[in-house]
Symmetry: C2
Subunit: 192 residues, 2 copies
């Protein structure tokens, strides 16, 4: 388990990330900052998620001192195009239509920083997700619940009806939720 | 979504299964029965989990009428040997040592039964799980939390520290938790 006297901060607004860190017994506080997340659909996914995590870390470092800081960013990639969060219900329906019956990739970039030693690690994880074929009715019903609207790729895999769309995954499941727990845990140990 | 006027019963004591069915918006009640779960380590995993699910269904059918009944059973298989729930802390430590650094397979057999039409489907799902190399200290610390003691293979993947042991999975994540949500959902639609 992670044991340290240094305070730990999760710099993220995501309630899902908060829950994941609680699950592994980490003692931490949450402090989120607004960081602009600009990207173009053709950006390199690995470079992009690592850059977004690094940008979030820079914003947090100005406000949080002598602490461990964790930041993260998750994107969805289908057919080499980056898919962000849907603007509205219409866009959510379009996104789910693209994912239906196909494989896509979820990338989470994350940063861990020890503000006492100055040690930083920026890393990422990639998971392949295969959706089964969805009917138009299923997509519409799901979008009407409002659940997909704040999520990259317009679906949630945890605590969400979106789970029944996922036929199989290859890789770290928690990476799809928003934090690759196994890798993050190892990297946290490395900066301590 | 699953819509029916027929009452739905989950015949399982598992709090994890109850939570998974809630996640997909199913309206159901829980009624569990004691069924003997006998097996030998060399049993065929697919036949075994389907038989255990069928046995649980038979026990439930005597008590629940004119309803839809869901039953399930989950086992862990490592190196072609079936691993059940650990008897005590010592056995949990031994099981986690076997899983450390290796791949294993999780099988969940399930039954869905419509007590009005008489239609029954018995099916299963298989997921491959790869553990990273665990240190003896990590295993001991985890076992001391008590979390692995009521779980097949001596670990939990959801709402549990065991998540940081899992490097990657191939297949349905929820199958490892205790119910293959995507397949169960489709089979439920088929018996309605």
């Amino acid at each position: 388990m992670i044991q340290t006297d240094i305070p730990i901060f999760l710099a993220s607004k995501s309630p899902r990330r908060k829950k994941l860190l609680r699950q592994i017994g980490l003692n931490f506080k949450v402090k989120a900052f607004d960081v602009e997340e600009n990207f173009s659909v053709n950006d390199n996914p690995v470079k992009l998620v690592k850059k977004l995590a690094a940008d979030k870390l820079e914003a947090a470092k100005n406000k949080i001192v002598n602490s461990i800081i964790i930041t993260a960013d998750t994107i969805v990639v289908r057919d080499k195009k980056i898919i962000g969060k849907p603007k509205d219900e219409k866009e959510a329906i379009k996104m789910l239509g693209l994912l239906s019956g196909n494989k896509h990739y979820v990338y989470t970039g994350f940063a861990v920083f020890n503000g006492v030693s100055g040690k930083t690690i920026i890393d990422y994880e990639k998971t392949c997700v295969k959706f089964r074929e969805l009917s138009d009715d299923e997509i519409t019903e799901y979008v009407e619940t409002g659940q997909p609207l704040d999520k990259a790729g317009a679906y949630g895999i945890q605590e969400d009806y979106g789970a029944v769309f996922v036929e199989r995954i290859s890789g770290d499941y928690y990476n799809v939720v928003g934090l690759p727990l196994a890798k993050l845990y190892l990297r946290l140990k490395q900066v301590l």
